[in-house]
């Protein structure tokens, strides 16, 4: 199968899942809570006002029609209007999404770096101190709630040592032209070094917090798979050709160890997003996670629904992307 038809098949297969997710969200947010209008206006609004609002939101129609309206809107990218700000929810999400993306990518990279290097070196020195310490690390990191880890790092590096800021993305005194919304990238393409350092400093604590939490899974997978790969014939054959230890470890063993890891990454991504919500709240990071929590406080249902739909689609899309990357890394998937 060519890569292109593989991608197309993969996307088509995801469609029923997306549909069920949308139904589920509709059910949870529209049917369980009882009357969303009362939720918006409060119990004491006059009947006419309630009726008018009801009509405005299309809630006087039968539930089935409402459902198809909702599907149609979502398909058009219309997620409704925030009752708090009166801005289209989609625009608000679009504004905040880059922050979440920047954080999760950064965290993912940190987790991968820790996982790959520590995991590979631990596999190379199986049962030696570096390997054993990796296991102890994994246990503790995994039992620690992400927000608590964030708080501790904040306390240590932000409050006591004063090395890093404890929240936000950019200091108010620093100016930066926003182009992509990924501030690290923006500061790089505008050659704004002052902003770059400032952004990086803000990104470090939340990024490390989130990265550490998922690193233990990568670490274990890389380590165990690499140990397995190092015992394979092709590693012995590579050795017999005189390749350098580094090349054998990273070029052959770790590279092959990665093939099963990519398939597991999709699941890790859901964990990453859940972690992102908590991390964003801990570090006042203006992304979708803290957006969701904020909107819940104000019971802004269109925005809540929008954010949840966004997360659902995000997870599905990422799992597709991961499968595609997987097909690129492991050509056997495609054939």
């Amino acid at each position: 199968m060519s890569l292109k038809s593989y991608i197309i098949t993969r996307i088509i297969l995801a469609l029923p899942m997306i549909l069920v997710l949308l139904i589920l969200i509709f059910f949870i947010l529209r049917i369980i809570p009882g009357d969303p209008v009362l939720a918006i206006l409060g119990g004491k609004a006059p009947v006419e006002v309630i009726e008018a609002k009801r009509h405005e939101l299309g809630l006087d129609k039968p539930i089935i029609i409402q459902f198809f309206d909702y599907l149609g809107d979502v398909a058009k990218g219309d997620l409704g209007v925030s009752t708090l700000t009166n801005r289209p929810v989609w625009n608000e999400i679009k504004d905040r999404f880059p922050a979440t993306l920047e954080l999760t990518i950064f965290a993912f990279i940190i987790a991968l770096v820790i996982g790959i290097f520590w995991g590979a070196e631990a596999a190379w020195r199986k049962d030696k101190p570096l390997d054993i310490s990796a296991r102890v690390y994994s246990i503790f990191i995994y039992a620690i709630p992400v927000f608590w880890l964030g708080l501790m790092l904040q306390l240590l590096f932000g409050i006591y040592l004063r090395w890093l800021p404890v929240g936000g993305r950019l200091s108010p005194r620093v100016s930066l032209d926003i182009k992509t919304g990924l501030l690290l990238l923006d500061s790089l393409i505008t050659w704004n070094w002052e902003a770059f350092w400032d952004v990086l400093k803000h990104l470090l604590l939340p990024g490390i917090t989130l990265g550490l939490v998922i690193s233990s899974i990568f670490l274990r997978m890389v380590r165990n798979n690499t140990v397995l790969m190092l015992s394979k014939d092709f590693v012995k054959a590579a050795k017999a050709r005189g390749l350098k230890p580094r090349v054998i470890l990273y070029g052959h063993a770790v590279r092959n160890a990665f093939v099963p890891i990519f398939t597991i990454m999709g699941m890790q991504f859901a964990l990453l997003l859940a972690g992102a919500v908590l991390t964003e709240t801990t570090f006042s990071w203006p992304g979708i996670g803290s957006y969701l929590v904020l909107k819940i406080k104000y019971r802004d249902f269109p925005a809540i629904q929008g954010a949840i739909i966004f997360f659902a689609l995000f997870v599905v899309i990422i799992s597709i992307i991961i499968d595609i990357v997987n097909a690129l890394v492991d050509p056997r998937v495609r054939y």
Binding site: P16, M17, V20, L21, L24, I25, I28, L29, I32, P33, I132, R135, V136, S138, I139, F140, Y142, A143, I144, P145, F147, W148, L151, M152, Q154, L155, G158, I159, Y160, V166, S216, I217, R220, N224, L228, T263, I264, G266, M267, A270, L271, L273, A274, V277, L278, T281, T282, L292, V293, I296, K297, R299, I304, I308, F311, A312, V315, V316, S319
Partner: protein, 290 residues
Amino acid sequence: MRKKFISERLGEFISDLFGTGTGWLTFVGALILIFYIILAVFSPQIAPYNPTERVGRSLTAPNDQFIFGTDNLGRDVLSRVIYGARIALMIAFIAVAIAAGVGVPLGLISGFIGGPFDRVLTLIMDAIYSFPGLILAIAIAAVLGPGVINIAVSIAVVYTPTYFRVIRNQVASVKSELYVEAARALGAKNYEILMKYIFPNVLPSIVVVLSMNLADAIMTEAGLSFLGLGIAPPTPDWGFDLSNGQRFVLSKAWWGLLYPGIAIITVVLGFSMFSEGLNELINPTIRERR
């Protein structure tokens, strides 16, 4: 593919470190659990102060009188940590009971009946399952509002598909086993077959999943209450106390953050060690180990 419980992962990490078949780890896990259960049950007797009352000056650092210090409202952190075990364990147990109470029967029926009913239910469960658990719990907690049962329900929804999937798949495979066929041939009723032949077969898996689920439930509860979606203040709750404590990091009030966190971590570790041991005991062969 299957998501893994925190306990399960931790169990893997732990047996990576100590090797399998470590009975003493299970024992330590059980000790930790008993310790927290005692704290939860006897909090009024154990806690030195009323956890919701001002008993000292605000934000007192740990000293002889308040060994864990006091929070911003002058409440004793130690007492709040002790009482916090109540809420954490209570919500965890209720959530797990609901998840199992819904997931297991649905799994049994779905696996047993098969057909379109099974397919639709499986699709729905898979969709819930693929959703990031915490975010789903957030959404449900947001519509349900605060309260022990509401929080427990929000958490339960996240884990119901796990029970469903485990049970459904086992039932589907047990169903075709010889003795079930034989029972059916002898004219046993569906209900009888389900309860007499199939249920006892899947019971060990249920026990294991139950025990592993608890740590996750506690972690999710802590997350929800940290986000302000837990039970209403001033009830002591570790997650909520952490978010409350965060407001005073600038005053370096580390004690408000350190102790509730350690409580969460030790409970999670305890549950994980215990369930890992239980799992090895009950299902020595089911484990997929590399």
